[in-house]
Amino acid sequence: MKQFQKIKTTAIPFDKVNVDTDQIVPKQFLKLIQKTGFGKFLFYNWRFDGNEIPNQSFILNDPKYKNSKILVTGENFGCGSSREHAVWALQDYGFSVIIAPSFGDIFYSNCFKNGLLAITLDPKIIQKLLQIDTELEVDLESQTIKTNTEEIPFQIDPYNKKNLLEGFDEIALTIKNEDKISEYEQKSNVSSLL
C-alpha cells in the first residue's frame, strides 16, 4: 500500500446523501478479476448517458474539478454492497480523500485497507466545506484540513492513521503474531468442513 501524503487540491462538492456502492461502481463492471482500471467506471450511470457520452451536468465532468483529489459529500456515503471495487474506482479516478458526515461501515473499512483517507466530520462543517471553491489542504499527520481562512481538526482511529502513513502490509503484521493464532486454534477446536 502506498504511503499517504499531504493532499492539496480543490474539493468536489458532491452534495448527495446515501450514495450507495452500486452508484459508485455499477454491477456490470464487477466482473473484472484485477484491481486496476476501475476509474473509468466510477459513477458510470451518472457520469455518462446511454451512449457513453459524458453528462455535462454531472459535477465530475466539470473541467474545473479535473485535478481534484478530494470529494466532499453527504451522509452514509458508500452504503450497501461490500464491493471493494468502489474504493478501487475512486482511487483509480484520482481521489485520495473522501469527506462525509458518515460512511457505510464496510466501505469505510475498505478505504483504509487501500490507503484512501475517509474523514468523518460534523454535518454543519460539511455544509460549509460544500460551499468552498478554493483549495483544501488535508494533512493526516496533524489531522487537519486547512481552508484559506481556517484550520479544521478531524478525528481518526490511531490504527488506521498509522496504516495510512506507513502504507504497510496488514497481512505481514498479522503473520508476525502467528504463534497467537496457533495458540487460539489449539484451544478453540473449531470444527472442520472436510
Binding site: 452514509n76 471493494e84 498479522t174 503473520i175 468442513l193
Partner: protein, 471 residues
C-alpha cells in the same frame, strides 16, 4: 457482568487485543464467491502466501451464473472468466467449491445454513454484505471487502474495531402472519430507523414476534440488517435454531454436545446493556411496498406515495433524495400504491428465495394466471431449494400460472447475469435493494414480500394480499 450475545461471541474469538485499537478476531467460517475473491487470491500469489485453513473455507458460484439452461456455455465472456478464475483458485489453494453444476450450489447465504456450515456462536465472514443473513442462527456473521477476504484466507483472522450492540424489539402477535411477513417487518424497521440507523452496530432482534418466526423468516430479517446500515444482525438461538441445523451435510459429529453448551452459553443476559434500542409493535405493520431508491422509502400497500416533504420530515437532504427518487421511479406523490402497475416480477435473492417463501407465494398463485402484461420469474435460492420445491410440486403451480421456473443464483437481485430489467421497466421484487440501476440500468425496483410479489404478478399491479381470494 451482564453481556449481550454479540459481546460473548466477540470476546470468545479474540486472538489479540490492542489498547484503544482493533482486535484480531478468529474467523470460524469463510465463504467465498466469484465476484469478490479473484483479487484476494491474486494478492496471495503475489506474496507467495497460502490459505491458512482451507478446511474452514467454502466456495460457491452465485452472482454470475445463468439461471436458464446450464448445459449451454456462458455467453458473457467476462462472467465466464470470473467463474473459471474461482474454479482455478479453489483448485490451486485446496478449497471445496460448489460450482454451477453441483447439487449444493446456490446463493452463498442460502447454502451456508442449508449445509450446516453456519453454526451458533461462530464468526462467519464472506465478501458480501448480506452475510448478515446467517446471524439468524446466533452467529456473528458479516460482510467484508476483498482486502479482508485476502487477510482471512492468509491468516483466518480479521482486525476489527468492536461494534456496538443495538436492540430491536419486535413485539405483539401478527393477526395475519401469511400476509404480514418477515419482509414487511424488516422493511417497516428500516423505514423508521433509516438506512444509517444501524451504522457501527450489530442489531440483536428480540421479542415475542421474533421468537415466533421460523428460521427462514428470521434469515429474511437478519439479511436486511445491512440495509439499515448495521454490519450484522443476530438472534439468540433457540430449539428452532438447533433443529434446523441437525443432520445437515456439515453438521459437526459432536452436535448434541455442542447444543448443550450453546443452550447454556449463547444468550443475552437480562441486564445486558445496549448502546441503542428501538421497539416496534407488529400490529402496526401492513404489507410494505417500496416506492423510492433506498430501502427506507417504503409505504403500506394501503397508502399513497408521500410527498418528499412528508417523507423527509424537515430533513432537507432526505427531501432532495426523495425528489430524485420519485423522478427516477417516474412516480408522483399522492398516487395510490395499488395504482402502480408492474412489468416484471422477480421472486428470488438471499432475502426471499427459500422454500417457505416459494410455498407461500405458490398459495397466492395456485389456480390463477400471471397478468398478460407481466413477465414473472422464480429463481430459487439454491439447487436444494429448487429440488425441495419440485418434490412438493410447487414448480408446477408456478409454471401453470406462466411463471418462469429457473435455476438458482443471485439473478435479478443485482443482474450480473443475463437476468436484468430494461430501461424504464418496473419490477415487484423480493430482493433487498431498490438502488438506481441495481436490477438493470434505468430499471425501477419495488421491494416487497414473496406473497405481495406473487399477488402483483397475478393482478398486474400492487394489491393488498390480505384481500385476495386464496385457494
Amino acid at each position: 457482568m451482564s453481556t449481550t450475545l454479540f459481546e460473548k461471541i466477540w470476546d470468545s474469538h479474540i486472538v489479540l487485543e490492542k489498547e484503544n485499537g482493533p482486535s484480531l478476531l478468529y474467523i470460524d467460517r469463510h465463504l467465498i464467491h466469484e465476484v469478490t475473491s479473484p483479487q484476494a487470491f491474486e494478492g496471495l500469489r503475489l506474496n507467495n502466501r497460502k490459505v491458512r485453513r482451507p478446511d474452514l473455507t467454502i466456495a460457491t458460484e452465485d452472482h454470475n451464473v445463468p439461471t436458464s439452461d446450464r448445459s449451454l456455455p456462458i455467453i458473457d465472456q467476462t462472467s465466464s472468466i470470473q467463474i473459471q478464475t474461482l474454479e482455478k483458485n479453489c483448485k490451486d489453494f485446496g478449497i471445496q467449491l460448489f460450482g454451477m453444476d453441483n447439487p449444493n450450489q446456490g446463493i452463498v447465504h442460502v447454502i451456508g445454513p442449508q449445509l450446516g456450515i453456519t453454526l451458533p456462536g461462530s464468526t462467519i465472514v464472506c465478501g458480501d454484505s448480506h452475510t448478515s443473513t446467517q446471524g439468524a442462527f446466533g452467529s456473528l456473521a458479516f460482510g467484508i471487502g476483498t482486502s479482508e477476504v485476502e487477510h482471512v484466507l492468509a491468516t483466518q483472522t480479521l482486525w476489527m474495531q468492536k461494534l456496538k450492540p443495538f436492540e430491536i424489539k419486535v413485539e405483539g402477535k401478527r393477526k395475519n402472519p401469511f400476509a404480514i411477513t418477515a419482509k414487511d417487518i424488516i422493511l417497516s424497521i428500516i423505514r423508521r430507523i433509516g438506512t444509517s440507523g444501524g451504522s457501527g452496530t450489530v442489531i440483536e432482534y428480540r421479542g415475542e414476534t421474533i421468537s415466533e418466526l421460523s428460521m427462514e423468516q428470521r434469515m429474511t430479517i437478519c439479511n436486511m440488517s445491512i440495509e439499515a446500515g448495521a454490519r450484522a444482525g443476530l438472534i439468540v438461538p433457540d430449539e428452532k435454531t438447533y433443529d434446523y441445523l441437525r443432520g445437515k451435510k456439515f453438521t459437526p459429529k459432536n452436535y448434541e454436545e455442542l447444543v448443550e453448551q450453546w443452550r447454556e452459553n449463547l444468550k443475552t443476559d437480562p441486564n445486558a446493556k445496549f448502546d441503542k434500542r428501538f421497539t416496534i409493535n407488529v400490529q402496526e405493520i401492513a404489507p410494505q411496498v417500496s416506492w423510492g431508491t433506498n430501502p427506507s422509502m417504503v409505504s403500506d400497500v394501503t397508502e399513497e406515495i408521500p410527498s418528499p416533504e412528508e417523507f423527509a420530515k424537515g430533513d432537507l437532504n432526505q427531501q432532495k433524495g426523495a425528489i430524485n427518487a420519485l423522478k427516477y421511479m417516474d412516480l408522483k406523490p399522492g398516487t395510490l400504491i395499488t395504482d402502480i402497475f408492474v412489468d416484471r416480477v422477480f421472486i428470488g435473492s438471499c432475502t426471499n428465495a427459500r422454500l417457505e417463501d416459494l410455498v407461500d407465494a405458490s398459495k397466492v398463485v395456485k389456480g390463477k394466471k400471471v397478468s398478460s402484461n407481466v413477465l414473472a420469474m422464480i429463481v430459487p435460492g439454491s439447487q436444494m431449494v429448487k429440488k425441495q420445491a419440485e418434490e412438493l410440486g410447487i414448480d408446477k403451480i408456478f409454471k401453470d400460472a406462466n411463471f418462469e421456473w429457473r435455476e438458482s443464483g443471485c439473478s435479478m437481485c443485482l443482474g450480473m447475469n443475463p437476468d436484468i430489467l430494461g430501461p424504464g421497466e418496473r419490477c415487484a421484487s423480493t430482493s433487498n435493494r431498490n438502488f438506481e440501476g441495481r436490477q438493470g440500468v434505468g430499471g425501477r425496483t419495488h421491494l416487497v414480500s414473496p406473497v405481495m410479489a406473487a399477488a402483483a404478478a397475478i393482478e398486474g399491479h400492487f394489491v393488498d394480499v390480505r384481500e385476495m381470494d386464496l385457494n
